[in-house]
Subunit: 410 residues, 2 copies
């Protein structure tokens, strides 16, 4: 894409109330725009990043036989009353229509997916299966303050699995744990993300969060480096203040942000909706469920919290909006023609390129923008590089640049 | 995908209140599930179709330099008050939060995109540009009744263009007209879709709708076959009951469904938000806007209304959930192994295949399901075809089948 055509621009001025680093960088670089507290427009650069994160998640969910759907955001009050969450889920946005029928905006979808699954699958032969979506969720957070880490409207991948035995759920839950690890690895958060024991509710001693270490996080976790697991503060007493795996009490306290959570729901929702299956023996029993959430917008914000320096964002290649940031300097016709040709060559070879072809912007401003936007590889074409028949190549996460012959890009 | 793993099933029983043909077929075949009036879950088969339609739209919008974003659904009351639509837009869903701040759920996004564009672009050098999104919209329709043709929650592509002169808007509007025609052609609706003159509001004599002829439509249009344009009933008087192009009064009345509309907004929204640009002469003037909408879910429903027979849906290849429906008959091990191998060969060649590998379903039921689901090409492997080392190939829109050697699929 030609940067001269991009309708967004970088900016130095952002609102002082924006205290979180992810929001500051994403706003300044033109990835998001704030409509109001906790509610952001995803701009063209941001949508490219978000789509890459969502596609990584989609691929990993498909590998564990997830079936993608799109459930509604408008959900009827009755379903939430069936589970008791109309009153107990305190961040539900509620509304009514012309005939005073009441609805909640989907903040989670157990109340939709359980009767949906029930409609199609009631024989033991139909199990197991799992259903997921990538969707916009709404939560009436009283004080959203962490940029896109905790929004009132945000993107979410929520998956729900359905089983006829606890053993089958347990085995699938293990596979999902590995699938989640893979997602964070592919998004560049693998090193800093820990499988974290949290409280589990009625049907399971523990649930599990995936926590990424950053000072921007709202959670305190206690890490066992040996086992690469952690414990959320709330679960420490249940763990006797020691690692659930090796029992060591050498735990390191860190601030972290929850980038995912997985939960054995047991029969909580199937019982509420009277969702039973008929077993091989002809007897009925309640379906056993698990649920698995990741917020792609939160993952995007977390990556920015982790991957930046004092000049801007340093995107991991897997989620960067473009692979190359091609910059042309000066207004010499031959230099411009060379840069145009390199842009055409790279794009026709299937490479994703942001081409800074802006005529009225100086070298310093172009370099500063490139650092702020944070695309992995910067290519510069100037009178100087043209003399060498080369482009200057510099990786965003390295100090040094090198000249590379122009024909090596073909 | 293996049909034995698909969590949805076809069904003969659907609610009697579902009177629209698109909803009947889509529900019976397992493309959508109804949560409540006008609100549907898009199921795995349906999401494949919807994604294909949305990608066709995305490709055509990108070709006319559209820049994709994702705007929020939660929008602040102030923005709607600025344009006067808080009270005049009668289908807005309204809600408030814990602090009694009021919001509307996005039913259209002029109130968000205008101040967004204003934030970045105020010099004549920045123009023209256009911004679009593919997003879920909400409209509090009092009596949704046409299946997914008119929902209370539905998918929408809305694009907004920004110009410094009427001539520039007019030229872009012509390009968009062609882009829209291309979308309907690619979705299989080209023959039955007419550029239709409708009333234009303050800033333009006409707006334009794209109307697809079907008895399921809620609109009456008057067609000039010569010019391949039509007039909406409401615009007939303004057109003197004759074709706006050739002036003929030989118009044919038809029922049709509006599958898109494009509109010259002029300065209606830029004036409300005081969105001016600074011209080359240093003087300020209000920005001139256009808007362009298509509902992907409505397009999906319209395709079903047009493309079906008494056995089920007949998807155009471009939007079909899969290219092949491979069916294995009987439980002979060699037959099954042959079908498994053909499935593996086709998928590894990048073909999209739904593989009916269900063990406990007879040939008649499998064929009936295939006709209902409506995938373009059916392949059958049975003891009979195996003898010939062939698969039976039948196109959904043809009566006859033929045997094709198995090795021709490799």
């Amino acid at each position: 894409m030609r940067q001269s055509q991009l309708f967004t621009k970088t900016t130095k001025q952002i609102s002082k109330e924006e205290v979180s680093l992810n929001a500051q960088l994403l706003l300044r670089a033109g990835y998001v725009n704030k409509l109001m507290a906790g509610v952001y427009t995803i701009l063209p650069l941001g949508l490219r990043v978000l789509s890459k994160i969502e596609n990584i998640i989609r691929e990993e969910m498909n590998k564990v036989e997830g079936q993608e759907v799109l459930m509604p955001s408008l959900t009827p009050k009755e379903n939430w009353e069936t589970t008791g969450r109309w009153t107990s889920f305190d961040v539900l946005f509620k509304l009514d229509d012309a005939s005073d029928k009441e609805y909640a905006l989907g903040a989670s979808h157990e109340e939709v997916v359980t009767p949906l699954a029930q409609k199609f699958n009631t024989s033991y032969k139909d199990f197991p299966f799992s259903i997921y979506q990538l969707q916009t969720k709404f939560r009436n957070e009283p004080r959203p303050k962490s940029g896109i880490l905790r929004g009132r409207e945000f993107r979410m991948k929520d998956m729900y699995s359905f089983h006829t035995s606890q053993a089958d759920l347990d085995a699938y839950y293990e596979r999902m744990t590995e699938a989640y690890k893979k997602v964070y690895e592919r998004c560049g958060l693998g090193d800093k993300t820990y499988l974290t024991f949290a409280l589990g509710g009625t049907f399971s001693k523990y649930s599990h969060e995936f926590q990424t270490i950053t000072e921007a996080g709202e959670d305190d976790i206690f890490i066992c480096e040996q086992c690469r697991v952690a414990i959320n503060r709330e679960a420490l007493p249940d763990c006797n203040n020691s690692c659930p795996k090796c029992k060591s009490n050498q735990l390191i306290e860190k601030k972290a942000v929850e980038v995912g959570n997985i939960f054995k729901l047991g029969t909580k929702y199937s019982s509420a909706f009277k969702y039973n299956f008929v077993g091989e023996d002809g007897k009925q029993a309640p379906v056993i469920m698990g649920c698995y959430g990741i917020g792609p917008t939160r993952v995007m914000g977390t990556i920015v919290e982790i991957c930046h320096d004092d000049k801007g964002i340093v995107w991991p290649k897997s989620v960067a909006p473009f692979e190359y940031h091609l910059i042309v300097l000066g207004d010499d016709a031959e230099v411009k023609a060379t840069a145009d040709k390199l842009y055409a060559d790279l794009t026709s070879a299937g490479k994703e390129v942001l081409y800074d072809d802006r005529a009225d912007v100086g070298a310093g401003a172009k370099f500063a923008d490139a650092d702020l936007i944070g695309i992995p590889t910067r290519l510069v074409i100037s009178a100087k590089t043209l003399k060498e028949n080369a482009a200057e190549v510099k990786n965003r996460n390295e100090e040094n640049s090198e000249l590379k012959p122009l024909d090596s890009f073909r």
